[in-house]
Homo-oligomer: 204 residues x 2
DNA sequence: GTAGGATACTGAACATCGTTCAGCGAAGCA
DNA sequence: TGCTTCGCTGAACGATGTTCAGTATCCTAC
């Protein structure tokens, strides 16, 4: 019965190839500039073939989002297992988060704030699964910060406010540095260190 | 010679009406979902008429950006002329900035990070004028923070790093709160106060 | 070995999009 | 009253996302 398996494998391969090509193009040229026809041409299939693998353009975006979140999650987990002191873990995680955002440039912005039209066109099940993986990442931050608070490294108080603000700060830096608007930002390393100092320092 | 004046006035009125309608629709339905045809239908003119007032869709966006920045600038200036102590001015300005972003919901996100495709389609002159007004707003923040530093209310050190990080923090909060992703943020007022405390507290 | 069905893919079509342009009607000037 | 100018339109073009009837290829069963 190896035939059906081979078929499934081939089908999966093409799906992956479509996704890889699409991701590359979205990031390089922007969501709106990349048409289904262009993707099809690049992979040398008819445009309609893509619709055998993805319901529509929005579902491709959803898949990309999901994969990116998963990769981010993996990198965070790699730090957690080091079992460093909680504050050290927190600092390293935030730094890794920012570096991930900078490495993945426009992919980050794309995944973290896709066009509203895309989001609202998603079917509820797909939306839910993305929402879940995002909340999970947020939960990781919350847990990490709770540990810091319990260790007395973060001043006691409204944990949720601290967590949400911390996320928004870091997210703002990630988005801002990625958004290529021609603004003359200072040296990224200096800025990042300063950001981490202030974000974490204000938690004491 | 009142005739040409009346004509000019009428022309200006229609331009303003197009822009007002477009802004409203972009904010409500998102940039991509609003077509030139829909705007035309709403103002009860032919689609091609819009092109007599705006070079293309991108130029409409540019105008909206420009106007929004101008409005923000006005609100900042209103605080500056109060001539409060520098740190008080800074806090009020940042708060006003965040409130402006929250009042104008998606307009803020739209103006602060329009689709890349839109930006790159702008003619250089238009782009430059928007860039300039944005830099001007940033300059205002820099000046305000320099005054605080000179008054000894901000610890001495790399001013530019402090200014850029401060902006990115506040920008992140503004964008994050506006992006309607279904995330369960805590009470906005509590979060905002916490944010201001941390952003400003970490400058001491 | 061949009929029959499943599978993978295609090409043409549809509605809609941003945008252009020749031309129309009315308003003002001579 | 003729002429020019001005504001506006309707039809058209190419490109978009998406659908669907149909084709060609492969696998199974007789």
């Amino acid at each position: 019965m190896g035939i059906t398996e081979r078929r499934a494998r081939e089908k999966d391969d093409l799906r992956r190839q479509i996704l890889a090509t699409a991701t590359e193009m979205f990031v390089a040229e922007g969501y709106e500039s990349v048409s289904m026809r262009k993707i099809a041409e690049r992979i040398e299939y008819a445009p309609s073939t893509i619709y055998l693998y993805f319901k529509d353009k929005g579902e491709m975006v959803a898949s990309i989002c999901y994969d990116t979140f998963a990769e981010l999650e993996r990198r965070m987990e790699k730090i957690r297992v080091l079992e460093l002191p909680p504050m050290e873990t927190l600092r390293r995680s935030l730094r890794e988060y920012l570096e991930f955002a900078l490495e993945n440039r426009s992919a980050y912005s794309f995944v973290m704030s896709p066009p509203v039209a895309v989001i609202s066109s998603l079917d509820p099940k797909t939306f839910e699964s993305i929402h879940e993986v995002a909340l999970q990442a947020f939960d990781r931050l919350r847990t990490g910060m709770r540990l810091c608070m319990e260790a007395g490294e973060i001043a006691p108080g409204d944990l949720e406010a601290k967590v949400q603000a911390t996320y928004l700060f870091v997210h703002g830096v990630a988005l801002g540095l990625n958004y290529n608007c021609g603004f003359p930002f200072i040296d990224k390393d200096i800025l990042l260190e300063h950001v981490l100092d202030r974000v974490l320092g204000s938690l004491k």
